[in-house]
Subunit: 354 residues, 2 copies
């Protein structure tokens, strides 16, 4: 039979001090005389005392708990990014003494309702936002209600400078990624390199297209770049069907905004090109599918991003000034992973940037 859980009071009277002294030993050790501190600490160890999160939360209104929305797995291919991010975030939060609570929402409004709910009933200390986009209602709401949060993704906007934003964020430098991918294809001797991306979004997609454009212009390819660029939905089929048009315009290699698109394009090229010509396609996100098929891809450092997000957020939550501590706005350089098509299990990682 296991004995009852010790509390501050029960523990205190078993040592012969007051509950507040025990509390101080754990929360503000410098206030307690070293001799008694030792004595109390020993008792804490032996009894296996654990403070009650509920009681502490009731009094302090802090839960040491962070919220994260789990977005529905749309594609399954790009979903792997979320998986890696989530795992790193869990570990980082755990190491920083925070717990992580999940919620699921279909759209931004539903997410806001969930945040509101969790804030009121569970006193969550902060939130991690993912998938930020232009005109994001969530950041506005959170700021208006003075809720601490950090975003994975910069605050996309045509007018405002993201580096001036009030809230902390960490993002991947998509432009740098596509730029180095384009650079890699240029090195291989390609000149007419196309870009296969999404429709204009004033955000993620435009950023990735911009990197390709920058590299192409730097290489002196000042012709009309627009005709080398295609914009479609983000799935495998769309990637495949966009290929023919680009080929007709003389494209010999492709940089893609996602692995889904890259995979579609790759398969289509395989079907269309003569067998001896190996399709030159670079994807984005370095998902398991890219690895399995032997597709080169831009690898975003999501685990690193997760750790930095927790670092910034816990800095804010600790009430420390924005001046010191980790930078409030961070852009991380992705690396390029070069593979030989179908060379299963024989990946040749190659770091660029970072």
């Amino acid at each position: 039979m296991t004995q009852k859980k010790p509390t501050l009071v029960s523990l205190a009277e078993s040592i012969g001090v007051s509950r507040q002294t025990v509390s101080n030993v754990l929360n503000a050790p410098q206030r307690v005389k070293p001799a008694t501190r030792e004595r109390v600490l020993k008792a804490v160890q032996e009894s296996g005392y654990r403070p009650s999160a509920a009681a502490r939360q009731l009094r302090t209104r802090r839960s040491m708990d962070l919220g994260l929305r789990l977005t529905p797995v749309t594609d399954g291919i790009n979903g792997a990014v979320q998986d890696r991010f989530l795992h790193a975030l869990t570990e980082a939060a755990q190491d920083a003494g925070y717990r992580l609570t999940l919620y699921s929402a279909r759209d931004d409004e539903e997410e806001i309702r969930h945040i509101d709910e969790l804030l009121h009933v569970a006193d969550l200390d902060g939130f991690v936002l993912t998938g930020t986009h232009a005109g994001d209602p969530r950041t506005a709401w959170l700021q208006e209600h003075a809720v601490p949060f950090a975003a994975f993704g910069r605050p996309w906007s045509r007018t405002a400078d993201p580096f001036e934003s009030a809230h902390p964020w960490v993002d991947i430098d998509g432009a740098a990624g596509t730029e180095s991918a384009t650079g890699f294809l240029l090195e291989q001797g390609h000149r007419r390199i196309g870009f296969l991306g999404w429709r204009p979004d004033e955000g993620l997609g435009d950023d990735r297209r911009a990197g390709w454009r920058r590299a192409m212009e730097a290489a002196g390819s000042c012709g009309s770049l627009n005709e080398l660029s295609a914009a479609t939905d983000d799935d495998v089929a769309a990637g495949a069907s966009a290929v023919d048009g680009l080929l007709a315009r003389g494209v010999t290699a492709l940089v893609c905004a996602s692995d889904s698109l890259a995979l579609g394009a790759f398969a289509q090229l395989r079907a269309v090109l003569p067998p001896e010509v190996e399709p030159a396609v670079v994807g984005f996100d370095d998902t398991p599918v890219a690895a399995a098929v032997g597709l080169s891809s831009v690898a975003p450092p999501v685990a690193d991003a997760a750790r930095r997000i927790i670092a910034v957020l816990s800095h804010v939550l600790a009430g420390r000034p924005a001046g010191e501590g980790p930078h409030r706005h961070q852009v991380l350089k992705p690396s390029l992973v070069v593979r030989k098509p179908y060379a299963l299990g024989r990946t040749v990682p190659r770091r660029q940037g970072g």
Copy 2:
């Protein structure tokens, strides 16, 4: 300026009743006279009152919070299963009024330490275990400490009947999956169908091998089946390198214990077989990689499993008798998804069983 959060007391005196009456309206409406009930409910709506989880938890010692371990993404291919499971679990828990807290652990012992910790400090109500295996120390520990939990995966054991186990669990019928995969290949005219799996584990892997064996024996292939079966590590490279040996023994088609193995085998067959022969390989788990490459695969109903796990667990947590409510031990039939290799975007799903 947002006004202060209403509490039971503040709300009660604004209506002119006692706090307990308000509490009863929310928790035991039948105790309150309909007239006052209406009055209170109206006030609750208008004020936007939300009960404090911390206070409730402190008093009742229930947190309405469930714990789940997030296992490190090993493969990236099979990790997608975890992703789908997690998402369905989050939604199901949310719908049932529970929150979901994540923790990360490297092995079973570390998980037990985390559970112990969360149990004491955060009063978690229950846990969801995944990846059960023979001699699992976690189930023993949880039972010993009378902690409510449900497992995704049956309690593998040579001696004990899983259907007699004390704790609830939901599992996928792996044997039925490989059996129908084998049946499919038999229909296609194959006779010497090999099985590519893991080393004996008295669990998941043996189960999947058993389904293949059952189908083969039923087809009258009573020769020594052992020589058609290979056991290796669970990754793409291992799958590829196991192929040659099986081919030498006259195997013309393969059922695999995972998509990783299937993918490796598939690529190797492509390299070895003449171009006009299409490799006949069926994987397991129906991961995005299988879909992308056009590999047939056994699809486990993980989302359904997640919902059923929450159903059983919340039934237990509500203190209802084991007799009524959802079955405490459930085995779910997977379905077979048939694809044409490389026919990207042109998937032909085909349901079997279930």
